[in-house]
């Protein structure tokens, strides 16, 4: 039985060898991780803030100042012009965006007042409001300039996809603010470059490189190879089929795919902790006849647990705790990817496979990892909050959860690679 198995694989290989043209494309998408990082480097090398240099930075800053000034004056003009017809509260709100940055309370009140009055269409008070705002723009200039500097830096950093996602998530608020306006202007200048790079690089974070450090990417690569090979084998088996046998096979493939539903990464099982992990993992694979060993991830979890139990958080530097958390999540992610890869190898080397059990196990495993990542992220975020307070405590807590969702994304990818591996076992 295993003999014929290997023959099929071999013939699959030979088949690829004969199809020279498709071979190139095939191997090209074998390493999406590495390639995407390559793309990232390429796309960022042109536009990253590194290549901007100090001069460009200053020139951008001054450009931005200029563009804000024009925007403000434009808005003022439009606003004043619109007095002749019906005043547009939106325009007025736009002018106030800057003030909002520094004197938010006051300006919200003011905006409210302005809106009320605008809807009431009182010309006098409207005019006085316009002058009030413009005088505010002058007096608030100092803080505004500072704000512009700050925001410009954000935009410069935004061109670096490495931190772009984080910044965007941190600054997520729906109301228009100065940075949005500046960003719009900049997007207009640089075309759609930024958005393009974002699409090409779905999984980018600091963790990416740490993950490579812990071999996570190579585990994923190996799993992907197995996934592609299984897919190829399925296609070869399908080729000679026609009529009913083809329809039957198609049905089986679809059934497996439908059964194999990705668990919800948000529904967390809070019974899964760094100490109970071993039991849950053992239970997840108990129906499978494979000797998958979880030693490494279990012992690393217990190691983390020791960190969590250490009492004296108050003496700890929060930056240190933060760094530990990122390393922990990257390492856990790599170890879980290793488990997936080993699991696929073991399944593919079996002569008799039970698809229903396999599907169930992989789903269970996946939801355990989701819960584990979440548990570890929460614990670390707690620790950061309890550690010696520093400037960015809040930001750090948020980033820990960002990294957590990053780890989740890698696991989701591994999950999707499993489909053909399970399907081939069902045929």
């Amino acid at each position: 039985m295993p003999e014929s198995d290997s023959d099929d694989f071999e013939s699959a290989d030979e088949d690829v060898d004969h199809q020279k043209p498709s071979k190139g494309t095939k191997s090209e998408d074998v390493k999406p991780q590495i390639e995407s990082s390559e793309t990232m480097k390429k796309s960022s090398s042109g536009s990253s803030w590194r290549s901007w240099g100090a001069f460009e930075m200053i020139s951008t800053a001054s450009k931005s100042v200029a563009s804000v000034t024009t925007k403000v004056s434009q808005s003022l003009t439009t606003a004043i012009e619109s007095i002749n017809s019906i005043p547009n509260p939106e325009e007025m709100a736009k002018i106030q965006v800057e003030d909002k940055k520094t004197k938010s309370d006051e300006s919200i009140d003011n905006e409210q007042k302005l809106r009320d009055e605008a809807s009431g269409f009182k010309l006098d008070s409207l005019l006085s409001n316009v002058s009030l705002i413009s005088s505010k723009v002058m007096t608030g200039g100092l803080e505004t300039l500072e704000g512009i500097g700050k925001k410009t830096m954000n935009i410069i950093q935004d061109t670096d996809p490495n931190i772009k996602n984080k910044l965007r998530n941190m600054n997520s608020s729906n109301r228009p603010n100065l940075s949005d306006i500046l960003k719009e202007a900049k997007d207009f200048d640089t075309g759609n470059e930024i958005r393009d790079s974002e699409i090409k690089v779905p999984l980018v974070s600091f963790e990416h490189e740490l993950l490579e450090e812990y071999s996570g990417l190579v585990y994923l690569e190996a799993l992907e190879i197995l996934s592609k090979q299984s897919k190829l084998k399925i296609e070869l088996l399908m080729k000679p089929l026609t009529g009913k046998s083809l329809a039957d096979m198609d049905e089986t493939l679809k059934e497996v795919e439908e059964l194999f539903e990705l668990p919800d990464s948000d529904s967390v099982n809070d019974k899964i902790t760094t100490t109970t992990l071993g039991d849950h993992l053992a239970k997840a694979i108990e129906d499978l006849s494979i000797a998958l060993n979880f030693k490494e991830i279990i012992s690393y979890s217990l190691e983390l647990n020791k960190q969590f139990d250490e009492a004296d958080d108050t003496e700890r530097d929060c930056k240190q705790v933060y760094n530990n958390s990122i390393v922990a999540l990257a390492k856990l992610c790599a170890l879980s990817l290793n488990n997936y890869q080993k699991m696929a190898e073991l399944m593919l080397s079996l002569s008799h496979r039970s698809t229903a059990d396999e599907v169930d196990s992989v789903i269970q495993l996946t939801s355990i990892y989701f819960s584990l990542f979440n548990y570890v992220a929460s614990k670390f975020s707690e620790k950061i909050a309890n550690s010696k307070p520093c400037e960015d405590t809040k930001k750090m807590s948020m980033e820990v959860f960002m990294e957590c969702s990053n780890a989740t994304a890698y696991v989701k990818k591994a999950f999707s690679f499993f489909i053909p591996v399970l399907q081939i076992g069902a045929l």
């Binding site: 295993p2 390493k31 590194r50 800053a61 190579v218 090979q229 190898e345």
Partner: protein
């Protein structure tokens, strides 16, 4: 006005420092310029995992469990003043994993084909291992034949001359090694890397192809490092 400017410039600088701080903490600069993919193949029990362990840890693993599917090892070496990360795929020798391990050959820049000098059967199987390798890798893949367990001279079944002849006939590099004493282990891995690097230099290997098993790392991080230096000097100049 002057004061404002210095405030802004200080702010920008602190922002830059902050970012660089984060980047350098989270991701150490690439300390290598190439990654070479190796595979180690050969019959069960010839000492593939022990060779890898000796090469990466400089230690002999006395009792080594059977490898499942593939295990990985890495080590950064230097060839011609270039740092190269070897990413080694150590395959299982057990027959039941053969179908799985065959999938991993593609895209290897180097292939270490191992037999055991004290077991003739492992030598006799070399032609089938070689056929697999030739079929599944690309023509530029460097194949290094390794006769392991050279420390067990008393139970030798395959002579050096015989294996050397086989290697020469098939255009393979060859050495006898001992994963236990470490003899020639380093050399086998490094010689392979040198030959691959030579192919890269000669342009025989296409770096853009994933098949080649060689990836070049862009020296992107260095740019960042030098920027760090710049800002630091700026800070020193501008201690106003």
């Amino acid at each position: 006005m002057n004061e404002n400017f210095s405030r802004i410039s200080r702010l920008i600088k602190s922002k830059i420092d902050d970012t660089i701080d984060k980047i350098s903490i989270m991701s150490a600069p690439y300390s290598y310029s190439y990654i070479f993919k190796y595979i180690i193949i050969g019959d069960m029990g010839v000492g593939k995992s022990c060779l890898l362990h000796q090469f990466t840890e400089k230690k002999f693993m006395a009792s080594c469990p059977h490898t499942i599917g593939v295990e990985f090892g890495t080590r950064i070496i230097e060839v011609d003043k270039q740092k190269i990360k070897l990413q080694i795929w150590d395959t299982a020798g057990q027959e039941r994993f053969r179908a799985v391990t065959r999938s991993y050959y593609r895209g290897a820049a180097g292939c270490l084909m191992v037999y055991d000098i004290t077991r003739r059967s492992t030598y006799n199987h070399l032609s089938s291992w070689l056929t697999d390798t030739k079929n599944l890798t690309n023509p530029s893949t460097v194949i290094f034949l390794i006769g392991n367990k050279s420390d067990l001279e008393s139970t030798r079944e395959v002579t050096y001359e015989e294996a050397k002849k086989f290697a020469d006939e098939n255009g393979l590099m060859f050495a006898e090694t001992s994963a236990m004493t470490g003899q020639n282990v380093e050399e086998a891995f490094l010689e392979t890397a040198r030959k691959i690097y030579q192919s890269v230099q000669d342009g025989r290997l296409d770096l853009n192809s994933a098949e080649s098993g060689v990836q070049q790392k862009q020296p992107q991080r260095q740019g960042r490092t030098s920027l760090t230096d710049d800002t630091q000097t700026n800070k020193d100049n501008c201690s106003c």
